[in-house]
Amino acid sequence: MKALTLLALFALQATAAPQDEFPRAADGHPDFSGVWQTITTAHWNLEPHIAAPGGVPALGAQFAVAPGLGVVVGDRIPYKPEALAQRDTNFANRLTADPETNCYLGGVPRSTYMPYPLQIFQSSDIVSIAYQYATGLRRIDIGGTYEAPLDSWMGWSNAKWEGDTLVVEVTGFNGQTWLDRAGNYASAAAKVTERYTPLSPNHIQYEATIEDPSVYTEAWSIRMPLYRIVDDNYRLLEFKCEPFAEEKLYGHLRKPAE
């Protein structure tokens, strides 16, 4: 009986092991290709926060801030005092000042945890990521070393492998993105280091470290899983929000009614 059980266990192990593994690319590295999405309220606020009004009374509970345990390692973003004041000013003005209200690109890392799917396409030399929100797109060169020629919204990404972790260094930001809807922000001098590590076959552990001595007293990190979307025949749809922001951006320049 014991021998049979052992044999059964052994057989189970042998057949179960490949399904327990994160998919691998032809070159042996973990293959992060696929459709992924985070499940957090980081898009509202990276730090721990309770439920709160969203700031648009007419939308009541529909636009309320859902509570979250926070995704910041150590809970608090280590702002310099004057930068914290700026963050608080951002928060007070968030309904007009948040670039998301204008359909502006989310930048990095915000695009990762906006409540919309993203799709990763991985080859040996290039990882590209398409974001459903505002049809954002990043090109990440594996082994790339070239510095950002100009600033951009999604930054300039160079990556390398450290074992099974894809480490992506992102610089060349224009300083105009926010990190969430609560006014947390970084400057154009920010350097973001993302780490994508297989957690289980359908999960990537996503970590982003943000260094910006003009804003923070020290580097700090966020961490959260990316969940694979396993729906049959799933595909990203266009969230081209430009027309939805036109009234806000240009309504005051509209021809007055006669």
């Binding site: 060169d141 082994g143 070239y146 020629p149």
Partner: protein
């Protein structure tokens, strides 16, 4: 055909004969006229009856899309400083030629000939933008280098 290393030589491709290179230049001028007529309501943004020719100091450079904007501080005879926003083109092709955000340093002196915003604000489209000493705006940056992306 992925490029492992995006540090590329910007060289003239072997396929492109000298004759065809001249054609490319011609195509540019032809397209210029088409673009000017078809593109982007320039007639409404800027007034052909408000030409200007100014000189000033660069205070901010926005090499952005859909159009670049160069902010130039112009000081008049009375010593009053006005910041002009000068519109240019998309920077994407410049990036491929080695231009970076250091290509127009803040503090450079520029000369701008153009047409002013229709609403009278200190904005204009830069018909000709050069350094005050006559150098072409991005010429020095457009030298074939090992490091153009």
């Amino acid at each position: 055909m992925n490029k492992k290393n995006i540090n590329k030589n910007y060289t003239n491709p072997g396929k492109f004969s000298i004759f065809l290179r001249a054609l490319a230049l011609a195509t540019m001028w032809t397209l210029f006229n088409q673009a000017a007529l078809a593109h982007h309501a320039f007639a409404l943004e800027f007034d052909v009856k408000k030409p200007f020719d100014l000189q000033g100091v660069v205070s901010k450079v926005e090499l952005i899309n859909p159009h670049s904007w160069i902010h130039v501080d112009v000081t008049d005879a009375n010593g009053t400083k006005v910041t002009w926003m000068i519109e240019g083109g998309s920077p994407n092709a410049l990036v491929r030629k080695g231009v970076t955000k250091q290509s127009i340093p803040v503090g450079s002196e520029l000369r701008v000939i153009g047409y002013q915003a229709r609403d009278g604000s200190p904005k204009g489209v830069g018909r000709t933008i050069t350094f005050a000493d006559g150098r072409e705006l991005f010429f020095d940056s457009r030298v074939p280098t090992e490091s153009a992306p």
